[in-house]
Amino acid sequence: MQLSRSARIALRAAAGLGFAFIYVPLALVLVNSFNRDRSASWPPSGLTFHWWSVAWENEGARAALWVSVKAGLGATAIALVLGTLIAFAVARHRFFGRDAISFVVVLPIALPGIVTGIALNSAFSTVLEPLGVGLGMFTVIVGHATFCIVVVFNNVVARLRRTSGTYEEAAMDLGADTFRAFVDVTFPLVRSALLAGGLLAFALSFDEIVVTTFTAGPGIETLPIWIFNNMTRPQQAPVVNVVAAVLVLFSVIPIYAAQRLSADTATESRI
């Protein structure tokens, strides 16, 4: 399209404003973690590292981070197993209701979190509580795993569709049994898809607040719940600011890992 000079300049300016809209709030969170005051008025009266050391010592935030990591690892492990099983069934078999399964897998993430949250909450309290299992880490992991299955499934099923079953058949012709073919051929083919899916699942679980609210008992506080509970307390504002800044910095890790993973898959397909 032959754009006039002025149209080009206007589009560049609008895109620049758009990127500013995306990044100014994140930058503000970073700057604000060095804010000397407890209030968020702009510009800050002075900058200090003081709150970073205060936050480092904060027991509540540390404990919440640890709870989030445990819940994330548990949910990711379950999602990896269940998501991979469904992916193999859908990609390598034909059966009645195959399309319905792909739909049910997406449902927990497509429906509003509050609907999934109350549904699981009332199921847990009617089925598990009579058995003596209260809401706690276990129910949080079950809730998170339910909506994490889809990302593992999507990654693995996409990989399986791109690699045909002939590699496995070749391995079996050469004398490998079903298990041997899986370990030596299939697993290496899907490994990076599993890593990418696991990474996404962990990130989803780590960030979840709504489903956690309804599946965690009173004693369980994940990092998002901790932030939410402390956000409106002026006394805690500086520590919340630092935790928020740390989370913004953390978000670079999955981006970096995803870039590395796709480079990895690129080399794989080149072989």
Binding site: R8, L85, I86, A89, A119
Partner: protein
């Protein structure tokens, strides 16, 4: 005889592998049992119970759930003006967020897909993706800081003699737009990137100016992607209640009303919860007609 002797001599693992290989149905049922128990029994089961409980009522004295079939909750939902207002306001917010996202996303996507130098484009896509990995709560918290009294918004608008919107409906719309914007940019970027350059040349050869080419060539080809992005912006906004709690002031959307009913009147909360689900399903069906879902 020899084959049985061979089979007997094999390890049990090898025999199990052989059985699995010969029986694809057995393999399939082993693959599907655990996930189906989890998703169909645990998840769909809880959802089904929730929607059935929308037809129960609550004893107004004891707050105990009365398991007698009645459509009272839905009757209230459509007749009480409070609920009607909340439902309409929520749909309005979701639509406003979608329109704002499309308006902000288009110039960004056009720049990253067609104006920026090709070697810089992958980096720009990463720049769009990065905020998706930043915590949801932190992004809303950022807007709580910006819109606070004497915050960044007030400071920027002060020279113009204005002040920021403060916490309220506008703040909720801005924060939701910010949260879901990348979901709109990415599909539009993908569509613009795949737009064949010769179509644009042909349009120019036939005498169309930039505006006419945009209206007659670019827009029709990008519209399905806008629809695909809108599935995210619309449904994610419709179900949200945390953002409204943080920056919405006294504003109430469906999610907030569901939340405030859970303790005292679970059947009413369940009935209210069906509203966003039904609206989202209707929206998905409408979008499917545009062919948007196949490009997801």
């Amino acid at each position: 005889m020899t084959t049985t002797a061979q089979a007997a001599g094999r390890s049990p693992v090898r025999r199990l592998a052989g059985t699995l290989h010969r029986r694809p149905r057995l393999r399939l049922s082993l693959l599907l049992t655990a996930p189906l128990l989890w998703l169909a029994v645990l998840y769909l089961g809880s959802l089904a119970v929730l929607f059935v409980s929308a037809f129960w009522t609550t004893d107004s004295f004891t707050s105990e759930v009365v398991k007698v079939w009645s459509t009272d909750n839905f009757h209230q939902l459509f007749t009480l003006p409070v609920y009607r207002q909340v439902i309409l306001r929520s749909i309005g917010v979701a639509l406003a967020v979608t329109v704002l996202c499309a308006a902000i996303a288009f110039p960004i996507a056009f720049y990253t897909a067609r104006i920026a130098r090709p070697e810089r484009r992958p980096l720009l896509v990463v720049a769009i993706l990065t905020p998706l990995w930043a915590s949801y709560l932190v992004k809303v918290y950022a807007w709580r800081l910006i819109l606070s009294q004497g915050g960044l918004a007030d400071w920027v608008l002060k020279p113009l003699g204005l002040s920021g919107p403060g916490y309220g409906l506008v703040a909720a719309i801005i924060a939701l737009t910010y949260l879901w914007l990348p979901y709109m940019i990415l599909p539009i970027h993908a569509a613009l990137e795949q737009l064949p350059a010769n179509l644009l040349d042909a349009s120019a050869d036939l005498g169309a100016g930039a505006a006419r080419t945009f209206r007659s060539v670019v827009l029709p080809m990008v519209l399905p992607s806008v629809a695909a992005g809108s599935v995210f912006t619309f449904s994610l906004s419709l179900g949200d209640y945390i953002t409204v709690q943080i920056v919405g002031g006294k504003t109430q959307l469906i999610g907030n009303v569901v939340y405030s009913n859970i303790e005292l009147n679970l059947p009413m909360a369940a009935a209210l919860g069906t509203v966003p689900v039904v609206v989202i399903v209707v929206y998905l069906l409408a979008m499917r007609r545009t062919g948007a879902l196949s490009s997801l």
